[in-house]
């Protein structure tokens, strides 16, 4: 894989990430369509991800959680806005409670995934994300990274342990 680029605009709170894989778009598509594959790459190492629901359709809902070693869980939901196999996915992403229902906290973000064939039979994947606020971006970063998960959930744990 050749990592290509990330274009970031801190004023507009947007980022577009582009990567190339040497596999056809139909194969790369499966990384999103198949929940068993999705849960192997979405969450950070040490935080096994489980998709409890994956209605890969419009309208459709996916829900997932990531588990820490101490039994703590972080929940999220997706709503599928657009699915055009094998070129386009548009997903709304937000924080969920333990039932997979949106908490409404920090709103939601939308990201768009575009797959295009490259000359060599591979795929160029771009992911464009738009955030509503820096607070929301901070929370998304914390939830997606091992370091952040340790930070945010670890703190909650430490507080609970004090009681």
């Amino acid at each position: 894989m050749t990592f290509i680029e990330a274009v970031k605009d801190p004023d507009a709170l947007t980022m577009t990430m582009v990567a190339e894989f040497d596999r056809p778009a139909e194969r790369v598509w499966k990384l999103w369509e198949d929940p068993r594959q999705l849960e192997r790459w979405w969450g950070p190492p040490g935080w096994p991800t489980t998709f409890t629901r994956h209605d890969f359709a419009v309208p459709g809902r996916s829900t997932y959680y990531m588990s820490g070693t101490e039994g703590e869980k972080a929940h999220g939901w997706w709503s599928w806005l657009e699915i055009a196999e094998p070129t386009t996915l548009r997903v709304e992403d937000g924080f969920a409670d333990e039932n997979g229902d949106p908490t409404g906290d920090l709103g939601s973000t939308v990201f768009t995934v575009t797959l295009e064939p490259t000359d060599g039979g591979g795929t160029r994947m771009s992911i464009a994300s738009q955030f509503e606020s820096a607070e929301q971006l901070q929370a998304m970063v914390d939830m997606g990274m091992e370091e952040g998960m340790k930070g945010s959930l670890g703190q909650i744990d430490a507080i609970l342990a004090e009681d």
């Binding site: 990592f3 790369v28 979405w42 820096a134 971006l137």
Partner: protein, 112 residues
């Protein structure tokens, strides 16, 4: 809300501000933006040396530099933008890690 700083980011800020010239540059560009050559005239050092100081401040996200014609203009980075830039950098790392994991899954499939 200020974005949480990583240890590496805090180190970069302390390192950047540990030098008197760099502290002076920050104070002056907070006042108003200045070109690198205008800053170089203020200190008894070469243009290249001042440019290096500015680069250290840039790495700590304390200032940003823009090219305007032949001049490089240095300005203080507003904290909200600085926070957003830092968070987007971390979000980029997050996706780089995801893309690495995607790549491993794709490679597995090829071996079969």
């Amino acid at each position: 809300m200020g974005a949480q700083l990583s240890d590496a980011e805090i180190d970069a800020i302390f390192h950047a501000l540990a030098d008197a010239t760099r502290r002076d540059i920050v104070t002056r560009v907070i006042e108003r933006e200045r070109s690198v050559s205008a800053l170089a005239e203020l200190y008894d050092m070469s243009f290249a040396a001042v440019q290096k100081h500015v680069a250290v401040l840039e790495r700590a996200s304390l200032v940003t530099k823009q090219r305007r014609g032949r001049e490089q203009i240095v300005h203080a980075e507003p904290s909200a933008i600085r926070d957003a830039r830092r968070l987007l950098d971390r979000f980029e790392d997050l996706w780089r890690q995801r893309i690495d994991r995607m790549q491993s899954i794709l490679e597995e499939g090829e071996e079969r």
